[in-house]
């Protein structure tokens, strides 16, 4: 039994934590939050690319470090803890995983090396309106060469150079790779709950695009990408939830009411213990997702769903109860609690909301139990 990360992976995590504490401190996060014209921190993005982390899970033949998914998982946890205001998840989880899963040798060879060096920011575009998308709901159309339609919201769509788009092709759906730096693409920046990350409406008017993967397999490929991204996002969520718990513990020890530390009241202690339990449940489930992701195991779809459901629950609980533990101060702009409350919401809807994943989980469990 070795259900843990290796010493080298733990060292990488420690290195990432120190690096991000320095380069993505709350001042950096707030500089993106407070500046409406800024949707990511370019210096941090450049530094992360120089560390090689954008290519951590990209094979060496495509210009990456070829480390593996477990390494990407530990990096994700630290990105989540630090609230890193960069398009890391869009690029390194969704976009890269889509290319690795569905891309041709040529597509991988052209795009992935640029991803690894930080020259490509990737986005993943499915949503077109309120409610969970379904195969029948996708309106964006791909005719084999050109893309037409509207995707909203697209996380990091305002700064991305490329996007992978789910589009209708004939009677079915396909994944499509599109360079966003062309005339047929326009972008409108969106106001969202989490301004530390950029969001846009992407409008395609006959934009030049190419298919990613086989025609008609778009929905299944998108689901496969979402399973992979869900595990990595779950690590960001666990990192963020743990940061909330650490903040709450620290504050409760230092805050006095009724002449004693509020951390000595059971109402507070039990609340924080519940946060800890939720985070540990999420952590165990995400570790299993990491194992399934790294070995491309047949258990991945069920493991990813469980990791996602647990991580969404844990981050929501930790983010809201961190505010509650801080009392009135927690409701101010100056105190950092709301940064996590905002990010928790983004991460819980970005790859499909928890309700969608609970349904996926049960469907996959039924299949497994019937087998």
């Amino acid at each position: 039994m070795n259900f843990d990360f290796s010493d080298e992976q733990k060292q990488l995590k420690e290195q990432a934590r120190r690096f991000l504490a320095d380069r993505s401190d709350r001042g950096v996060v707030r500089s993106v939050l407070n500046d409406a014209g800024k949707s990511f921190d370019q210096d941090l993005w450049k530094a992360v690319a120089e560390m090689g982390w954008l290519g951590a899970a990209i094979p060496e033949e495509f210009g990456g470090l070829g480390l593996g998914k477990l390494e990407l998982c530990v990096l994700a946890e630290e990105m989540g803890r630090a609230l890193a205001p960069i398009p890391f998840s869009s690029t390194a989880y969704f976009f890269t995983e889509a290319l690795l899963k569905a891309g041709s040798q040529t597509q991988k060879g052209e795009v992935l090396p640029k991803v690894a060096e930080g020259g490509v920011i990737g986005a993943f575009a499915i949503s077109e309106g309120p409610g969970a998308p379904s195969p029948g709901s996708i309106q964006t159309v791909f005719d084999g060469a050109a893309l037409t339609g509207v995707k909203i919201p697209v996380t990091d769509g305002d700064i991305a150079s490329h996007a992978v788009v789910l589009a209708r092709e004939g009677q079915s759906l396909s994944l499509v790779l599109v360079d966003l730096r062309q005339e047929g693409v326009s972008r409108d920046t969106l106001t969202t709950l989490d301004p530390t990350r950029g969001h846009a409406r992407l409008t395609f008017r006959g934009a030049k695009a190419e298919r990613l993967g086989a025609a008609g397999e778009g929905w299944d490929l998108a689901e496969a990408v979402l399973d992979r991204a869900a595990v990595l996002i779950a690590f960001e969520q666990v990192g963020g939830a743990q940061a909330c718990l650490d903040m709450a513990v620290d504050y409760a020890k230092g805050r006095y009411a009724f002449s004693r530390q509020i951390a000595s009241f059971q109402a507070i202690k039990h609340k924080l213990a519940d946060m800890y339990v939720a985070i540990e449940v999420a952590r165990s489930n995400t570790y299993y997702g990491a194992w399934a992701l790294s070995t491309d195991a047949s258990e991945l779809p069920l493991a990813a769903a469980a990791a996602r459901v647990a991580a969404c629950d844990a981050y929501y609980l930790a983010a809201k109860e961190n505010i509650q533990t801080h009392g009135g101060m927690g409701f101010t702009w100056e105190v950092d609690c709301h940064l996590f409350y905002r990010r928790a919401k983004l991460l819980s809807v970005q790859a499909g909301a928890p309700g969608v994943w609970k349904e996926k989980l049960v469907r996959r469990l039924e299949t497994k139990n019937a087998a």
Binding site: R260, H270, E280, N285, E366
Partner: protein, 405 residues
Amino acid sequence: MDFNDTPEEAAFRAEARAWLEKTLSPATRAAFSEDEPLKAAKAYQALKAGAGYAGLTWRKSVGGRELPPIFSVIFGQEEARFQAPVGPFAIGLGMCIPTMIAFASDDQKKRYVAPALRGEEIWCQLFSEPSAGSDVAGLKTRAVRDGDDWVVNGQKVWTSGAHYSDYGILLTRTNPEKEKHKGLTMFFLDMRSPGVEVRPIHQMSGGSNFNEVYFTDVRIPDAQRLGEVGDGWNVALVTLMNERLAVGGSNGPDYAEILELARNTPAPAGRGSLLQDQAFREKLAAWYVSAEGYTLGKYRTMTALSKGQTPGPESSIGKILNANRLQDLTNAAIEAEDHYGIISDPAIAPEQAVFQASYMWAPGLRIAGGTDEILRNIIAERVLGLPQDVRVDKGVAFKDLPTGR
């Protein structure tokens, strides 16, 4: 990351499995006289000790093999696969005898450890009292020195297996003038001593798994004292160290069982099965995540053990998760059966009424071996490092503490 044993662990597991297959085959099991479970358990324990599988982690000087804890976990997993009858020895070998090993004299260890390991003598633990549960240091059972003996009067409660135990370890109050935690002393005693009376507790579930034990002028030689006079609390901490690990195991029906029930039960909306009901599916997902959180968490603990680390109080999580999931899930199963769910007759209720039986057992599981609330305090204080609650009993003699019911 992998879920494989190390070569050494795998070899041990294979060897253990082969031995269990041979020892607990249906044919040999029959020889254990199924209608007398205690006799069967004792026969199994004797064979287990003879084959060197008892006391795996204990020192060689007391009959153990000095193996790392992971081997004990592996053997336990294999025993569970074969449903080995180990119940009657869990408390004695898990808690009482380790306390004896730590505090008894060499002669006493020689006399008591081996027979317990062979299953010839069963031990129980006498700590909880009617007015001292979560706050067990508030116990009142009094031991008064009289020559070379101590005379004990009082009452213990929730004592598992007292009715078939040969010996017990007993926490008493020897000095009510001292602070609560400082006036306690630990002893061991023969459960057949004059003045010891065991009465079964009739549980709300209908069964009787625990006992009350009354002490009336029971004489215990001072030689059977464990640790110093007044140091009983520190002795008790050694005993309790393993309790939560022991009680944390999974009990009763889980997500897989309710999934099957839902497949064959109509949905409340009247269309299709309950398994097709969206509200039910959401709950099922949550139970699965909780159950996996527990199982995978155990794998993390095993990994730590395998690397020679000692798991900390974080294992308290398991019992909080399992006990609450059991209550929640059995409640939902009964309500899913609608009016029929009230039937608890195993002959006609679905799944032999396992949901109904576990619904009545679950409240006890949330209390036994540390209540939900105490476990949250343990996580808060020992994992998260939060301060203790304000204590009103510091610096006050036990006899002057306020007592309610």
